[in-house]
């Protein structure tokens, strides 16, 4: 009771031995409710980046991509391709797998693609590195797999990507 102005108190309820009791179903539900924010605090449902790289012939390919992010969030696949040879490469083509990239929306590739999701990089100097960025927005849920390929002449290098889009 709130502090009184010298008046008596109405009868107070007797106390009980206070402790927690749950039914099994209730407990399981509560654990699920508690688990979700705890996992979220540890970043389980947040954006996570993956990094893959491969090397073949005169090319080295490094890709930084979203391993998981959420529906309608915007992210990007960053492709770094390096000419590891001692000669110039006239045309180096970086291609995004259609099966992968078409699962996203509002796709913007820089430099602009020349065919579908293929970008031509011209006159790559020895030891030179070029960047191709594909901005993608989560559109379809769950896992999307595909490849990024870099090709120059007879040299081809590819890496596998896998992105999970949370609903």
């Amino acid at each position: 009771m709130s502090e009184q102005n010298g008046s008596d108190q109405p009868p107070q309820p007797p106390d009980i031995r206070r402790r927690l009791r749950f039914e099994r179903f209730h407990l399981v539900g509560l654990l699920v409710f508690v688990a979700v924010p705890v996992l979220a605090l540890f970043g389980v449902f947040g954006e996570r980046w993956g990094r893959v790289q491969a090397r073949a012939g005169a090319l080295e390919l490094r890709v930084l991509y979203p391993e998981r992010y959420r529906y309608r969030q915007i992210s990007s696949v960053e492709v770094l391709v390096t000419n590891t040879s001692g000669r110039w490469i006239d045309t180096l083509t970086v291609a995004f797998d259609t099966a992968y990239i078409s699962r996203f929306s509002n796709i913007m590739i820089s430099p602009p693609p020349v065919r579908g999701y293929e970008v031509d990089l011209l006159d790559v100097e020895p030891g030179g590195t070029r960047l191709v960025v594909a901005e993608i927005q989560g559109f379809r849920y769950w896992r999307h797999r595909g490849q990024v390929t870099a090709a120059a002449g007879t040299d081809t290098v590819r890496v596998d990507l896998e992105t999970l889009v949370f609903p």
């Binding site: 009771m1 979220a40 605090l41």
Partner: protein, 164 residues
Amino acid sequence: METVIRVAFVYVFVLFALRVVGKREFGQLTPFDLVTLLLIPDLVTQALLREDYSMTNAVIALCTLFTLVFMTSVLTHLSRRSQEIIEGTPTVLVHDGRFIERNMNQQRVPPEEVYAELRKAGLERLDEALWVILETDGRISVVPKRDWDGGAAASEERGEDRAA
């Protein structure tokens, strides 16, 4: 992670603000009812309209809110002191037929409202009430005096008064 922190902050802030505002503003709801009912539609709306449109974000926000509600109920159940702090305590407005003016002023309850509650309880006069208590959910409880016989005594008394 940001969602969890945001929900936790808003929950604690709104709960604190409602405790500060006082019991009279709650009407028929407990503070927990009100906080929960305020936040649930807002969270769902935010999930639909804010930058993060994902259901994942909405589910995280709702689970965070339910977890906080659950933790609050655990705390108030296990600790009487916590219960008093979080839910507040009932306030005596009338004892033994007399207003407790200090409490009425603190809780901003006018005498007219007390009389309205007396009438709802079938009482006519203040001296027929042993206790009038503002409960933690904002409702007012009226406890008649033990020797009050449901109005007959009061009628007789009025008759005597008129006879006198």
